[in-house]
Structures are given as C-alpha cells and as structure tokens.
Amino acid sequence: MSAQPHALLVDRGNLRRRNRFNRLVEVSSTLAALLAVAVLVIVVGSVFLKGVGALSWHFLTTPTALFGESGGGISNAIVGTAIIVGIASVVAIPVGILVAIYTTEFAPDRVSHAIRFVLDLLNGVPTIITGIFIYGLLVVGHSQSGFAASVALSIVMLPIVARTAQEVLSLVPAILKEASSALGIAHWRTVVRITIPTAAGGLVTGALLGVARVAGETAPLLFASSIFRQGVLTDPGEALASIPIFIFQASESPKPEAHTEAWAAALVLIAIVLALNVVARAFYARSRKRMGA
C-alpha cells in the first residue's frame, strides 16, 4: 500500500482548519438552540413547581379575598381578562385583517410599504407608552375602566394581527387570483370568495397570536384598570380585575401565601398563552398546506 495517494485524501493544513471551524460553528449553534429551549423549559418549569401547590378548583372559582386576607382565588381576574381581551379582540382583529387586505390587495406598492413600516413601528412602541397615552386620553378626568384597558390592548394587538395577516395573504398563490380574474370575477369578489377563504387558517393564526400576546400585557392595565372593587365584575364601564394585575399585586404582598397565589396565577396565564400559541400553529400549518407552501 503506497502512502502517497492516501496522504492526499487526509485533511491537512487549510482543509483541516476548515473542518475544525465547521465543527466549532456546528457545536456553538446547537448549544445556542438548546439554550433557547432551556430558557422556556426553566421558566415554565419553575412557574409550574412554585404555582401548582396553590392551584385548585377553589382558586380558579373564587374571587380575590379582601386586602390583607388570603384564601381567595382569581375567578374575578379570569373573567376580567376575558372581558378586556375580548373587547380588544373585537376591535383589533377585524381592523387588523382589513388593513392587511387593503395593503396586499388594493393599495399601490408605495402606500403598502409605508403602512407596513408604520405597523412595524407601532409594534415596537413600548406598551407602557401605549398605557400612558390611554391614561391621558381616557382615564384622566373620567375613571379607570375595562374599556380603557381594551382600547390600549387593541392598540398593542393591531400590528400583530395586521402583519401576520399580511404575510398569510401574500402567500395565497397568484395563479388562483389569475384564474379568478380570467373567469370574469370582480376583484373584490375574488378577495372575499377566493383569497380570504384560502388564507383563513393563517388569519386565525394571526388573531390568536395577537390574543396570546395581549393576554399577558400588564403595563397598560396598570394605568387603565388596576383599582377595582371586590368580587366578580362584568361591567367594562368600571375597572376590572385581570390576571397580570393579580400577579403583580399578589407578588407585592408581604405574605408568603400571596406569593404562592401569584405563582399559581402565573401558571394559569402561561397555560392560556401556550395553548393559544399551539392552536395558532396548528391553524397556520393547515393553511400553508392548503396553499401548497
């Protein structure tokens, strides 16, 4: 066996250096990916371990106890969050989807780019700014209310819904729209009967991601709906309890039982958000399949 031709096939010099570098990048990027997963596991795991003790049917179905007392639950906060987020969704989802339809189907390119940019900026506005804006606009001179909180949350939600809807609508294959116009079907009718049904799953995804995002939003609620009466309230004309505010207030309490209750409420919130995200993913996957992407 001659050594020479074999030696040419062994990695040496430059090739060895490149192989090592390749290995280094591979290992470090794998570690980074594991780290990202680990962060989620640690957060969810610690919330679960600390909160699961206080979680009970009683906790979910009883309103918060009077200040300074323990043994209450978060039913008022669950109901309040549902009402506030519900109203915000009713406002933001249709408007967001209409904005997306306008920009992908009707607006000239320049206008549509401008709107995209504005939505990205709006998405980047810190929510404390949105909160103080609503505070100045709707709370000062009136009072805190579930409505004010909903308006603030709908501002946070709008760009998320609109941007996701834009992405999904632009995935609808152009050949479907062509087929439709070649049949003599009017543009708006093509949008309503072909484009939107094809993208429906993705539009639901955008809406759910928006809901998941604002369900845990705290800063605007501090301004708009944080001082409320006892018991389960359902009138959005007055300030309502909410899960994030409960977590915040319970964790400020000096009593250790209240801390455990805060963890339990956090567990409820994280479960809701994760569930919404999983459902949203499922709709998105279905929608992509339908569009052949």
């Binding site: 087929a179 049949l183 003599g184």
Partner: protein, 301 residues
Amino acid sequence: MDTRKQVRSPALSEQNQPEQQPTEPRAKTSVETAMPMRPVRRAERAGSRPAVGDIELKDLHAYYGSNHAVRGIDLDFDSGDVTAIIGPSGCGKSTMVRCINRMHEEIDGARAEGRVLLDGLDLYDPRVDIVAVRRSVGMVFQKPNPFPTMSVLDNVTAGLRLTGAPRGELEDRGREALTGAGLWEEVKGRLKGPGAGLSGGQQQRLCIARALAVEPEVLLMDEPCSALDPVATLKIEELIGELSERVTIVIVTHNMQQAARVADTTAFMLDGELVEVGPTEKLFTNPDDERTEQYVTGKFG
C-alpha cells in the same frame, strides 16, 4: 383571412377525428351530450349578434414598463380553429395571448396598444367591460390551479356563481361543463370532494371545465400541458380536438410535436414579432421563412 380559413380545415380536422374516436369511445359520447345545448345558449347570450368567436389582432403591441414584449402583431384566429403559437422562451407568445382576454394589463406597469377584435368588436374599446371580455374569452393556465377551498362542483361553477348566475342552473351547467371537459365519468362520484384532491391531469381538465362553464367563444391555453405527464397530456390534446368544434382555441406551446398534433394553424413568433403563420403541416414541412425552418428543425431555441 378568408383564404386561410379555406386552406385550413376540412383536411386537417377530419384527419384528427378518426385518430381519436377508436382510442377514446367515451370522448364521443361526451361531445354528443354536450353539443346540442351549446348553440342555443350561445345565441341567447349574444342576442342578435352571431356568436362565432373570430379573433383578429391588429397591430398589437404589449409592454412591461419600457420593455416592448410584443411588437406589432397582425394575426387572425378563425372560428372553430385550433391555432398553436410556438417560439423560443421569452418571444412574447404568452404575453400576446394574455392580451386577448386583457389579462396582460393586470400586471403592474403592463399595457397593450393596438386592437383585438372579437367578431369584429374591439375588446380594447373604452366602453367594453372587462368582465364581459373574460366571459367571452376563457383561459387555461400553465399550472393546474383549482381553487383549494372549493369542491369539484364548486370549482366548475365558480365562474357562474361568482358572477351572479341563477342558483338553479348551477348543477346542470356544472355537469355539462364537466362532460364537455371529458371529466364527468371520473368525478361524478366525488363532486363534493375537494378539487385539489384530483390528479394533476384531472385538475387541469377541471380548470378547462371551469373555463367552459361560462361558455366562452374563445379558449386561450397557455402551455396547458407543461406540468403534466404524457398520458394526461394526451387526454388534454384529445380534448382540444373535441372542443375545437365549440370554441376557437389558441394554444401556446413549447412542444412542437404538440403543435403538430393539435393545431390546424400554427404561428411562429420570435422576439415579439410574428415570423410566419400558416397551416400547421406547411409550417412544419415547408415554411416560407428561414428562421421558421431553423426553429422547427431544432437549430435554435
């Protein structure tokens, strides 16, 4: 124009017939069942005007922004004829065809100049409604594109439903169109099933049925077989032969054998210009222009 009409048909279209019928007995019945209803409807819709489906292009130019893609074409497509457009990629054949149903102008920055006459009426006249144009001139695309959210039947009747046809007629006209496209026997048990669940060739015939359902006088086909396997291609080609009795067909194709098999008349385009048009057999065996000869013998393109 009249001379060409005489030159083309009897010999060639009769040549087509005996080839099809023995291989595809089903095809014959579908023509028989679909045909009788046809002339009535066409006359009805067109009012007193005899609807025949003659297309004439007069000095047609098409642009994408500053790109001059079609450079002054004069060409006639005669009623009941199958005309194939051949030419190398980028020669403007698809663009030219898309000018006939005014799909070209749907693209940003695209425009067309010149005249396209359907039975003598200018489709680019400002009074003409674009929806009416699309209903008179149907189109089938390169890739089968059934609507993924609709069933087989809903796909076929989409053009009728979404342009306000009476509900009661839909099922009958859908069946008629499916029969016309030679698909009825294959899909009659799954009309409510998803249109996207059919095979590629069936999907393309579904798209043909969808285009036929609105009863156009002209059917444009932009490389309708380029995404299909040979068997599915053969079915479409047979279908083209049958349909030519009902509509004027213009087919863009990259495949010269296909042009030779299906077309009465063939036009050869190069760099946005029409080089030569004539009876298919003459164009392939004895073309007048040297460039045509080079192209059909595979010397370029």
